[in-house]
């Protein structure tokens, strides 16, 4: 089942979260284990800006009872639940039994799960899985970042515009002789040499 999940980027997710704010809709997002913490940070940062709702995080590290209590007591408009990686099947069964306490009227949220914890959830919390319905996605990490191909395309346009090579631009920057047009600043960032901007001041 997990292999057929739809993938969403950060931008797509923000739009979904924006349209679902003020509702008791829960979404599950499946993220690579190593990316969970930065994803939680990025989501918390951006959901608040995009939805203009106060957003809180609730950790599952102390088990289902404490997580559900903290969700019930939370005052924020949107909640990110995470740290389910140590939950055994029994914890998810408890969570499933207590799921009605997630019904907070106009407050919904997001569960951030690794692939493994998503599988354990779907197997052991069938009623909550049914509540999620189609709202379970895999996360297309970094879809908002320029791809290497896009970076190359922009660099090619800058080289043609200035009649200079990347090496010439770096040498100019190292010698504090870089022209001040903003295009040169962008050029250094695309070359991952943003620190040279500091030397131009």
């Amino acid at each position: 089942m997990l292999s057929i999940l739809k993938s969403v980027s950060l931008g797509e997710f923000l739009q979904r979260a924006g349209s679902l704010s003020d509702s008791n809709i829960w979404i599950a997002l499946v993220v690579d284990l190593k990316d969970i913490q930065p994803t939680v940070e990025d989501l918390q940062d951006t959901i608040e800006v995009f939805t203009e709702c106060e957003t809180g995080t609730v950790s599952g590290e102390n088990g289902a009872y404490e997580l559900i209590d903290r969700v019930a007591d939370a005052t924020q408009d949107y909640l990110l639940l995470w740290q389910f990686e140590f939950w055994q099947p029994e914890e998810w069964r408890t969570f499933d039994t207590l799921r009605s306490r997630l019904d907070k009227g106009k407050i919904g949220g997001l569960l951030i799960l690794s692939l493994e914890s998503a599988y354990v959830m779907l197997t052991n919390a069938p009623n909550f899985a049914s509540w999620l319905g189609a709202n379970i996605y895999t996360f297309a990490k970094d879809a908002e970042m320029l791809t290497q191909e896009e970076v190359e395309k922009r660099l090619a346009a800058l080289r043609e515009w200035a009649g200079k090579s990347d090496a010439e631009v770096i040498t100019l920057a190292e010698n504090q002789m870089l022209p001040t047009d903003p295009e040169y600043g962008e050029w250094l960032i695309l070359l991952n040499r943003g620190e040279l901007l500091e030397q131009q001041r």
């Binding site: 395309k153 600043g185 962008e186």
Partner: protein, 195 residues
């Protein structure tokens, strides 16, 4: 003092007056700032002011980073592909009335708060409209004194003419491009020929 020196002093005063440090400091980190811009563009698409759909907007609005430690470094937020030759076949944002634009914003997150250190925003008007474009440039900080006097400027339809820009933030310029600069149905006839 020569007239030219007086003008350069005036330029420096104008630039200092307009470039209050607070104008270029923002509360958001780069990804939050990207989300703020995305929200503006999506809203304009929902309102049918932009003809780009939401998928296109997400494809056009991207981030590039140059950082050693996560969230500590320099970021480029780009809206639309690089288009130095003003070719309309290169992907861009387009308004319902045929005006089209792109932009790039450079952020410095090496120290808090995040600082906007450079950008260019350029809107192009439909064919045969005068001026043909309007560009706002904030040049990154430089040693050169003369450069500093015209760091934040705009080009009203010519790459060779630049005047000080009013103290507008990138979000304000984006709103100007989306909701301002309306094309009049009947342009004023100020350039009536003597014939």
């Amino acid at each position: 003092m020569s007239s030219k020196d007086s003008w350069l002093n005036i330029c420096a005063e104008i630039q200092q007056r307009y470039l209050e440090p607070t104008l270029l400091e923002i509360e958001e980190n780069s990804r939050q700032f990207w989300a703020k811009i995305l929200k503006c563009l999506i809203a304009a698409s929902d309102d049918k002011l932009l003809i780009n759909n939401q998928n296109e907007i997400r494809t056009l609005l991207k981030i590039a980073k140059s950082e050693v430690i996560r969230k500590k470094g320099y970021t480029d937020i780009v809206g639309g592909e690089k288009n130095q030759k003003r070719r309309k076949d290169i992907p861009h944002f387009e308004r319902y009335d045929g005006c089209w634009f792109d932009f790039a914003i450079i952020l410095d997150e090496t120290k808090l708060p995040t600082k906007i250190i450079g950008f260019n925003f350029e809107i192009r008007f439909p064919e045969n409209y005068s001026p043909s474009f309007l560009r706002f440039d904030l040049n990154p900080p430089a040693h050169d004194n003369e450069e500093r006097q015209m760091r934040f400027h705009m080009h009203p339809g010519s790459d060779d003419i630049m005047i000080h820009s009013p103290p507008m933030t990138p979000i304000e310029i984006l709103h100007l491009f989306l909701y301002g600069l309306e094309l009049p149905e009947k342009p004023r006839l100020t350039n009536v020929s003597n014939e």
